[in-house]
C-alpha cells in the first residue's frame, strides 16, 4: 500500500550541518572564545617565550612568534572542535539531539552532520587567523592557501571526530573538561606546537613521535613554509602529515558512527 520507509540520509546531514553553523554564529561568546583565546595565547606566549628562551632547533632567521604560529592555528582547530562537540553531552539528554535520535535518520548522517559542521567552523576560524600571517612574515600565495586549507580541513575532521567520540558516551560536561585538560591539551602540547620534537627529552620525544598530531602540525608547517623540498612529493611532511591525519580521521568517524549506531539499535 505504501512505499517502504527508509532512514533518511542526505537531507538530515545537510540540515544538521547548517544548524551547527547558524547556531555558532548566533552565539557571539563562542566566536570570541574560540578565536580570541588562541590569539591571546599566541601573542603572550609567543612574545614572552621568544625572548626568554630560544629553541636551539629554530633557524636563525625565524623568530618564536613565527614558530608558534602554526601551533596556534592547530589550537584554534582543537578548541573549535571541542566546543562544537561538547554540546552533544547536554543535547542528548535534554535538547535538540533527543528529537534527532527518534527520527528515522541514518546514524551516519548524524555523525557527518556534526563533524562537517564542526569542520566548517574550525576551518573558517583558522582562515580568519590566517589573515594575521603577514604579521610574522608569512606571505600568501595561491599554492600556500591551497596547502593550508586542505590541511586545515583534514585536521578539523579528525579533531571534531575525536571530540565526538569522547563526548558521545559522556554523562556530564565536567567529565569532558577533565578529558580536555588531561588528554586533549597534552596532545596539543606534545605535537610540536610549543617546542620541536628534535630538542625534546627522550621519553617526551617518544610520545611526540607516536602522536598523530605531530605529523598534522608538520604538514601545516610545510604548508606555510615549503622549505627546500616540494610539498608535492610522496614523502614530503605535507603529504605524510595529511595522510596520517586522514587515516586517524577516518578511524574516528567510523568509531563515532558505530557508537551512534549502538544507541539506535532497537
Amino acid at each position: 500500500m505504501s512505499r517502504p520507509v527508509i532512514s533518511h540520509f542526505w537531507l538530515p546531514m545537510i540540515t544538521l550541518w547548517k544548524r551547527e553553523v547558524v547556531r555558532f554564529l548566533r552565539q557571539k561568546n563562542r566566536v570570541i572564545g574560540a578565536l580570541a583565546t588562541p590569539i591571546l595565547f599566541w601573542a603572550l606566549i609567543g612574545s614572552g617565550m621568544g625572548t626568554a628562551f630560544r629553541p636551539p632547533s629554530l633557524p636563525v632567521d625565524q623568530d618564536y612568534l613565527e614558530y608558534f604560529y602554526p601551533g596556534t592555528m592547530l589550537m584554534i582547530v582543537l578548541f573549535t572542535a571541542i566546543f562544537s562537540t561538547i554540546s552533544i553531552i547536554e543535547d542528548r539528554r535534554e535538547g535538540f539531539l533527543q528529537g534527532v535520535l527518534v527520527a528515522p535518520v541514518s546514524p551516519f548522517s548524524i555523525v557527518l552532520g556534526k563533524i562537517l559542521g564542526g569542520t566548517t567552523l574550525a576551518v573558517g576560524q583558522s582562515l580568519l587567523f590566517y589573515l594575521l600571517a603577514p604579521l610574522v612574515g608569512l606571505h600568501f600565495s595561491f599554492e600556500g592557501v591551497f596547502l593550508v586549507t586542505v590541511t586545515l580541513v583534514v585536521l578539523s575532521v579528525a579533531l571534531t571526530g575525536l571530540g565526538y567520540v569522547i563526548a558521545w558516551p559522556m554523562q556530564s560536561v565536567q567529565g569532558f573538561h577533565a578529558i580536555m585538560n588531561l588528554f586533549l591539551l597534552p596532545l596539543w602540547l606534545l605535537s610540536g606546537a610549543l617546542f620541536a620534537l628534535e630538542t625534546a627529552k627522550g621519553w617526551i620525544q617518544w610520545i611526540m613521535f607516536m602522536n598523530p598530531l605531530t605529523y598534522g602540525l608538520r604538514a601545516l608547517r610545510q604548508a606555510f613554509d615549503p622549505g627546500p623540498s616540494s610539498p608535492f612529493t610522496w614523502d614530503s611532511p605535507w603529504v605524510v602529515g595529511n595522510l596520517v591525519m586522514l587515516v586517524a580521521g577516518m578511524i574516528l568517524v567510523a568509531m563515532a558512527a558505530s557508537m551512534t549506531q549502538r544507541t539506535f539499535r532497537t
Binding site: M1, S2, P4, V5, I6, S7, H8, L11, P12, I14, T15, L16, R19, V22, R23, R26, Q27, R93, E94, G95, F96, L97, Q98, G99, V100, L101, V102, A103, P104, V105, T263, F264, R265, T266
Partner: protein, 353 residues
Amino acid sequence: MLASCLAYKAQNLPYNQQIDAALLVFRKFRSHNLFFMPTPAVTIEGVSYHYGERRALKNFSLEVEQGSIFGLLGPNGGGKTTLFKLLATLLPLQDGNITIDGHCLRTQGAQVRQQLGVVFQAPSLDKKLTVQENLVHQGHLYGLRGETLRKRILGNLELLQLADRSKDLVETLSGGLQRRVELAKALLHQPRLLLLDEPSTGLDPGVRMDLWNHLHSLNQSHGLTLLLTTHLLDEAEFCNRIALLDAGELIAEGSPDQLKKDAGAETIRIETSTPDLLAESIRIKLQLESSRDGRTLILQNSPIPNSGRFALLENLTQNFSTEIDSISASRPSLEDVYRQKTGRAWKNTEVHS
C-alpha cells in the same frame, strides 16, 4: 489501488484535510478487509527491562487502541519513563516485543520512527533558532522538503496558533508557547501516534489547560492516538484509558471511571482522635477493615454494595457517635485505586518543578 490514489491526492491538501483524507483511506482500507481486525496503535507483549541489576519493567503487556488517549500513570520510579524510552526507540528492547501500528519495533525501526511523534519532557527545541527554523530542521530530518514542507509548517503553525511567532527565536517565547512549538514540531511529519513524556510537568495550570485543549482537539478532529506518561492524578483524568504502573508492573488498566468503580462504590473517611481504637472496634463490630492516614480512617477495602452505602454511613454514625469527629463519603479517586492495589499511599513526588 484506491488507497494509494487517495493518498496521492492528499499530498496537495492543507494539514487537517490531509489527516482527514488519510483517515478516509485508512477506513476504506479497513472496510475492504475481510478479517475486520483493527490494528492496535501499540501492542506491548511481555516486555522486561533491567538496568544492570535493577529491574525497571517486569513482563509488561499492554494494548493501546487507535484513536485513544492513553495514560501511563505511576509514581516516579514506577517504570513509565523506561517504557516511554522503549516506545520512543531511545532504548533497545531486551525481552518481549513491541509493535507500533503493526510495525515491529525490533525489525522495522525506520517505519516505527516515521509513525511516531515524540514530545519530550525536557525541551528538544534549539533555542538559538527561530520557531520556523526549528520546524524546517525537523521536516528535513523526516525527509520533508520544499513546497510540501513549507505548507506543512504553515498548517501546523496555524493549527497551534503560532503563526505570528514563527520568526521569533525560541528562547524569547514563554514556557507554554515553547511547549506548543514542541507539539507543532512533533506533528510535522503527521505521525499516527503521539508519545508525550509528562506533558504538563513544569507548566502552570492555565498553560496546562491550554495544552490539553490542543491535545483533545487533535485527538477528536484528527483521530490521533495519544500515549502519555504522567505522575499527576488529575492529568490522568484527562485520558480515556489509563494503565497504572507500580514497580515496573501493570497493576490496573481501564478507563478512569471504570477503575474508580472497581475500587468500590464509596470511600468513607472518618476523622477521629482515637484512630487505632476506632479501627479495632469497627473490625470487631462490622467486620470491616480500614486503613489509617494520620487521624483519618479510610474504609474502602471491601466493596460496599451501592444500595447499602448510606446504610453503612448510618450504621457507623450510630455505633460510634462519640468517637467520630466527622465522617464523609465520596466516590473513590485514582489515589484510592492506587492505595487499594498496592496497599501504599500515593506519593505525589514531583521531582521536576
